[in-house]
Symmetry: C2
Subunit: 189 residues, 2 copies
DNA sequence: TACGTTGCCTAATACCCTTAGGCAAGTCGT
DNA sequence: ACGACTTGCCTAAGGGTATTAGGCAACGTA
């Protein structure tokens, strides 16, 4: 009986891929075991259980998004940075719906890894805002508004809210980004 | 053996209450059966199954939100209407997290009831925008941006994103509404 | 090569969801 | 008021997922 060569990372990646295919909520240990060719209980050698696996997928997605964000923002600022950051998230959500869903779940337990990620994500939002003249004490609010709009739009679009009405989401997306740019350009109003 | 006096409406309401207490994803037919004092299979006389129940809870939440919206918006327009509409959703989400989660699930199957709700919800957003001079062909985009920001903010707040950082979400909420008001007041740019 | 570690297995338990079939409590026609 | 029909609730049974316990064999290492 040869071994399957599993590891926490492999199991997590398979789970993330499965989430992209059938939805994060439909990810099941049974399905993963079938896919990698082992019996269900064998997975417990690599992950602590169903909930642990969900957290791992969430952290994986956040890490991928953050890394991609750091690359996308390199050398950009202001409107350019905002657009790159926003488009990155929208594209990631479209290509990896399950991962994005996981990333949006929030509520990961505190851990060194989670803290490091939060730090890096903070750096990203700082980089975006650095191109705008938002007063220091207003930055928190600006970050929250930007995050809210992006997240809300992407989720509505992913949920099919714009599917059966004209015009397409694409045009609204550009309006939303223009609105955000104008907003940040004249913050706080 | 006396009867429990159940009905689709009662089961749905119990499910919604349970969702508010433990989260929409944790709502289970077993738990509902225990709560109303019947055996699990008895519920199948009232709902078609687990998925059917979820849809019913979603429609219940959307209906409650819409009805409350119609009352909150009566006699208001412009900034007043926007604020009433936004605060209503935020308050509803805080008081009925499970219901709000259900309402945000989207993707309810097409039905006469769903169509009626969509119609009424469209009327609400129209009422909010009527106080602003948004060009007719731009209304769709404005509605989407407003919806995205509100939804995103409320979800981030519900997910605890603002919990461990100052200032509180309350202040950011006011900034967000001011930003939306300014945005709609000078749409498209 | 012998040893300890560990990856994977079978077995067993505990939910949850769903369908089938039966009984009796309501409801309705006469 | 009585019988017949409808239906709300029940038990029984089967299938899926999650988790734990305990065993065996494949690997890394002395």
């Amino acid at each position: 009986m040869s071994r399957a060569g599993l590891s926490p990372e492999v199991v997590t990646t398979v789970a993330a891929d499965l989430a992209d295919e059938v939805g994060f909520a439909q990810v099941t240990l049974s399905a993963i075991a079938r896919r990698v060719g082992v019996r269900l209980p064998s997975l417990y050698s690599h992950v602590a259980g169903s909930e642990d696996l969900r957290v791992r997928v969430t952290l994986l997605a956040l890490e991928e998004l953050t890394t991609a964000g750091e690359q996308a923002l390199a050398g950009r600022s202001g409107r350019e940075a905002l657009r790159a950051f926003a488009d990155l998230h929208r594209t990631y959500a479209a290509q990896h719906p399950g991962r994005y869903e996981a990333a949006g779940s929030l509520r990961v337990p505190a851990s060194p890894e989670a803290a490091r990620l939060a730090e890096r994500m903070g750096g990203l939002t700082d980089a975006v805002l650095d191109g705008y003249a938002v007063p220091p004490e207003e930055r928190v609010h600006a970050v929250r508004v930007v995050g809210s709009l992006l997240r809300g739009f992407i989720q509505l679009e992913a949920g099919g809210a714009f599917e059966h009405s004209r015009p397409s989401g694409e045009e609204s997306w550009h309006r939303a980004l223009d609105a955000l740019d104008a907003l940040l350009g004249s913050w706080p109003g």
